[in-house]
Amino acid sequence: MNRPLLTVEHLTMRFGGLTAIDDVSFTARDREITAIIGPNGAGKTTVFNCMTGFYKPTVGRLTLDRGDRKFLLERLDDYQVAQRAHVGRTFQNIRLFPGMSVLENLIVAQHNRLMHASGFTVLGLFGFGGYVAAERAAIDKARYWLDRVNLTERADVNAGALPYGAQRRLEIARAMCTDPVLLCLDEPAAGLNPRESHELNELLRFVRDEHKIGLLLIEHDMSVVMGISDHIIVLDYGRKISDGSPAEVRSDPAVIRAYLGEDEDEAKSAGDRA
């Protein structure tokens, strides 16, 4: 079994009087694909936002163990989560830089390394330092990921002009350009057609096996997740109701109840707070 990469303990998030996540604990392991699933409004995206520093959790500890160093994610600002702990993420409603080219999107993702190389701009202004070489390396890395996601030919096109599926792939490539140890994907398959969805599965497996990092993904759709996940966590109304391998989860009566909506009539209007 791989070592735990992310350990979430007693995560609770309240917005005013509304409890979006209620005492959720789970582990995501290195070199594994962990999926968080659950019906609309189960609090999946809120878990993500707590992990990546966009929300400060009300209660809970989120430990990222990179092997050499440990990070308490709840104590970091959002940008520090990416900068220091190297947790990359995508968004449910894709957030690219639409007015910038595809390649530029990937170069911006390597900002921190390039900032060092450009001597925090001062040296770079005059063309000193290793900036030229660093930029070339950044382009090479971008090209590598463009090849992976089949966007090399559209590298110089504005990201906003790409079709939907390509935007999703670009967002994943951009997150990978930050060299994450843990990649968090918020509904990466949403809006994709079956062929694109299949390609996505291939890409995620590739990332896990070749780049040897952990993946955490939110999916709404059980069938997509079953194929590629090593480990599944099921949330419902902010609580964890099941946790285990795909086979275990599939046969868990609590999961079946949540999905078939046995007690739909008392479903509180939790709303998707994503």
Binding site: G16, N49, Y55, F91, A274
Partner: protein, 304 residues
Amino acid sequence: MEYFVQQLINGLALGSIYGLIAIGYTMVYGIIGMINFAHGDVFMIGAFVALITFLVLGMIGITWLPFALLLVLVVAMVVASVYGWAIERLAYRPLRGSFRLAPLISAIGMSILLQNYVQITQGARVKPLPPLIQGGFVIMENDGFTVSLSYMQIIIVALTVILMIAFSALISRTALGRAQRACEQDRTMAALLGINVDRTISLTFVMGAALAAVAGLMFLVYYGVIDFFIGFLAGVKAFTAAVLGGIGSLPGAMLGGLLIGLIETFWSAYFTIEYKDVAAFSILIMVLIFRPTGLLGRPEVEKV
């Protein structure tokens, strides 16, 4: 002590004026999330319309003050409302869903436009109006220093209180108020549920403009001089009031207005009058840094 009480009274009157303008900022911000930079200039236009109406009434011989005041109030509110409506229709509505800075820049443009429009049509010089409502009560007298409460101040505060009560009722009881609150929460959803979003937003601007016109009339009668530039400072201060009270909150706007009025008055009274505008701006910066949700505002959860 007497001096203090006198400043308190003066501050409350000034604060009422700021509070009425601040409501316009806070309502518009609540519903479409933008700062209506031109709102201060609507206040200025309200003051000008009031001045013009006073003069015309004087010319045609309507001089019984209560009736004249009422007429002026109505005319100023109606005309300013049309301005509020037209501004939204021309400069803001076409920009919904446009890029982030567009409505702000458009609002700045509108503010510049209105100021210069009034400067051209009405002239750049200050316009004095002889005091209409004189006299008042003396509430304290000590060592030759009298604390007076003028009728004007009573009218200002009373009118503000009445308007606030009517307005709160309007927002909390009527269908329009409900539609407005629904649009604040989720405009798309409100539209899906059959709320006429365009109309609701227009009415928000109209109401804000009408209240600003009342404030304009009060300013005119209270200070007795106006010019085309009064909207700039009053606007920024009223916006500060809205932020201080918690933007989006109506009671907050009123409270913020009173606080800004008091702070400004006391600052001028006890420190230096030259820097009274600096005081207001510094408060704005301080509030935004230390308590961006204001005194009565709800914390804003960022949509990720």
